[in-house]
Amino acid sequence: MLTITELSVNYGAVQALSNVSIEVPKGEVTAVIGANGAGKSTLMRTLSGLVKPGSGSATVGGVTITGRKPEDIVRLGVALVPEGRSTIPELTVEENLRLGGLWRDKAARNATQVQVFDLFPVLAERRSMRADTLSGGERQQLAIGRALMSDPRVLLLDEPSLGLAPLIVTQILELVSRLARESDLAVLLVEQNAVTALRVATTGVVLNLGKVVMVGSGSEIASDEQLRHAYLGY
């Protein structure tokens, strides 16, 4: 579904990504893991249009997304849940969700909102409360819900575990992987927390200093002790 081909990104003289190629099939979670500074967030920001690539491309269902603006990329079916607090605290839960699909027609948007409330019942309970009254886990659910409101074909998740309790991380990731299977969604998950990410991922990609150093099944990477020591630090 999402095909990344020889993508390179430079920040001035620093090469943040170099010739990265990844295939993200639909119905599965693909995890990109790596230490801090490996280029994981740069990859996500480039795919969503916030950063312009130096060379290479990414396509979704054959349509090139690289080089387009973020507001156009989301319309092509690629939604990013950015790292950290990516909800707008001053808006209510429902407003945050509405925002995610504002450009869609009202009937379609309302139908998706019903699905999101099914998926995250706590958001339905808190719909008229301001987002800053939510707990960290609830806010991450809201951020994912906002992204789902655009009815994406590709969901990009940047470090969803950041600052959350392990149990909540597991719950959220399991929900995401079920969502991928059931709605035929292509999920690209970027994580520093490799153990959790590889548990739900069909395929794992190890990124180090902007380069892909290994691609394999989730369990393959988790059991490769040398690799773990070298790149993942555990």
Partner: protein, 292 residues
């Protein structure tokens, strides 16, 4: 005691006008984090245009509509020509640029409409209403001013809370990156914000002109009051701009009544200083702290 209430009543109309101008400043600040010092210059310019329309057609209503349209257009032109190129890398540069725009507008107005101060015809009766055996310090025109202000505030509130465009504007103001990722065309929304603020400022201009006069510099004092009000209100709060705006109108009326109208700006600046010492983030601000 009667005098006290008379002074209060007499301040309502001017308070509403100050509130509108402060509202225009707040609209721009909320979405761009720029204090638009050119706002009164824009209002002065569009009021001159309104005066020309009024002289031409004889209708105040057509002049009002003309001012609204000219305000929106001028706001968009300024954003495109001046703010967009500057703002890209520099907020304080953008604020200084708005000063430049103010000076340019005043110079241009002086050339286009020469001859110094001009009177703006009274669209409604501006003498005190006679009721219950006495003359009250409030006129039909004051009621028109308060009514238009209330309508605008109601309209803006509905726009921000009930419409998709309003939600886009709030999202773009609070977090442009998340707004873009959600599909909001942020730069278009910002342009709309400049148009909206331009129109609100233009209304303030056309409403204040009949009770003062109009010249390239005649609205400068309005900038002092509106800026004071916007800062005390917290710069990003519509309710703050309106309530502090009306409050300031009342204070000015009291100070002018009990002492001399020349003291009013001093009192306004004292209020601003007090506010910056005691509650620098503003009374109605969403944000807890702001460096001043």
């Amino acid at each position: 005691m009667t005098t006290f209430f008379d002074y209060l009543l007499g301040g309502l109309g001017s308070g509403a006008i100050i509130a509108l101008m402060a509202l225009a400043l707040v609209l721009i600040w909320r979405s761009t984090r720029v204090v638009n010092f050119a706002q009164v210059g824009q209002a002065m310019f569009t009021t001159f245009i309104a005066l020309s329309i009024q002289t031409w057609t004889g209708s105040w209503y057509i002049a009002l509509i003309g001012a609204l349209a000219a305000g929106a257009l001028l706001g968009v032109i300024i954003q495109y020509l001046v703010l967009r190129p500057v703002k890209r890398n520099d907020t304080s540069g953008a604020i200084i640029a708005t000063f430049g725009v103010l000076i340019a507008l005043q110079a241009a107005a002086g050339m286009i409409w020469p001859g110094g101060s001009q009177a703006f015809p009274q669209p409604f009766n501006n003498s005190g209403i006679e009721f219950a055996g006495r003359v009250w310090p409030i006129s039909v025109y004051d009621f028109v001013v308060i009514g238009i202000t209330a309508l605008l505030v109601l309209g803006l509130t509905l726009l921000f809370t009930k419409t998709s465009l309003g939600l886009s504007m709030r999202a773009a103001a609070f977090n442009p990156e998340v707004a873009k990722l959600s599909g909001v065309r942020v730069s278009r929304v910002l342009t709309f914000g400049w148009a909206l603020a331009g129109s609100v400022g233009a209304v303030a201009g056309i409403l204040v002109a009949p009770v003062s006069t109009i010249s390239p510099n005649s609205f400068d004092i309005l900038l002092v009051y509106a800026f004071t009000v916007a800062v005390i209100g917290g710069l990003d709060s519509l309710i703050g701009a309106i309530s502090i705006g009306v409050f300031t109108g009342l204070i000015i009326s009291l100070v002018s009544g009990y002492s001399d109208s020349g003291n009013a700006p001093v009192v306004a600046l004292l209020l601003l200083a007090l506010n910056l010492i005691l509650k620098p983030e503003g009374i109605f601000s969403h944000h807890k702290a702001r460096s001043v």
